[in-house]
């Protein structure tokens, strides 16, 4: 079992990405999240556990129920990691576009 617990591990799985998209719009209970998937309930629980350990989801007790909501700050880490690389290509391609526009 891979013990890595960071945002990259979290978003590596398609079901976990789907969970994040669901929770991004509103806080949901584990049951409500699971009802959106054909996957077995324990599997969804496992994904929720990983997402929580990766700090992408936060649990909030509301009466007898636990709601999951998204931790947007942590999500930003993913974008920040790639950003300098993306920026470099963006600069290069902007230059390409500017150079080639002269030939039009």
């Amino acid at each position: 079992m891979n013990l890595r617990r960071d945002v990259f591990q979290a978003i590596a799985d398609p079901t976990r990405r789907a969970i994040l998209l669901l929770v991004a719009t509103q806080s949901l209970t584990a049951g409500a999240i699971a009802s959106n998937f054909d996957t077995a309930r324990p599997t969804v629980s496992k994904h929720l556990q990983i997402l929580t350990e990766c700090e992408l989801l936060q649990q909030e007790q509301n009466g007898r129920e636990i709601f999951y909501h998204i931790n947007a700050k942590k999500m930003k880490e993913v974008a920040d990691f790639i950003e300098p690389f993306r920026q470099r290509w963006d600069d290069r391609f902007n230059k390409l576009e500017a150079v080639m526009k002269k030939f039009k």
């Binding site: 990691f81 790639i82 290509w89 290069r92 902007n94 150079v99």
Partner: protein, 154 residues
């Protein structure tokens, strides 16, 4: 401002997908990849060799702000005008392994086109290290400038 260049890096995979939509017709976008004088302008590099054909190869030389020369080279595996270029890419004199690049060119409208670069690395670690390169370089350059500054006041 909307980001024009998108980098898709899925975790745990040794690949990257870079996409970019250009406000250029397909023929101009493709020319930017095959004419050495044009490549030199937008890549900021000197083109020592560029043989755009199957079994052809290329070699570029860049000079960094410190005056150091860096060589890049690769072999062209597939070349279909205004459609695709498949090539390898290697940074000479660095521990980075060779990477494989699939470039595909598509026309969107008469005035716009799209480039998709699919890059395969030797390992996940190599890819992640490459992603962090511009950041590291930025830090190195800042350190060098700092060093210069202190050398001057000594």
């Amino acid at each position: 401002m909307q980001q024009k260049t998108n980098v898709h890096a899925e975790d745990g995979k040794q690949e990257l997908v870079i996409t970019r939509e250009f406000e250029l017709p397909l023929n101009l976008l493709f020319r930017a990849y095959i004419e050495p004088e044009i490549v030199e302008q937008w890549m900021g590099t000197k083109v020592l060799k560029l043989e755009n054909q199957r079994h052809g190869s290329y070699q570029f030389e860049t000079t960094d702000p410190m005056g150091n020369k860096h060589l890049f080279n690769g072999t062209i595996h597939e070349f279909e005008p205004e459609q695709k270029i498949t090539r390898t890419f290697e940074m000479e004199g660095t521990p980075f392994p060779v990477q494989l690049e699939f470039l595909s060119f598509e026309s969107m409208t008469t005035d716009t086109s799209k480039l998709t670069m699919h890059i395969i690395y030797k390992s996940v670690a190599d890819r992640d290290q490459m992603l962090q390169m511009p950041f590291r370089q930025g830090i190195n350059m800042a350190h060098n400038r700092l060093q210069d500054y202190f050398n001057h006041i000594k």
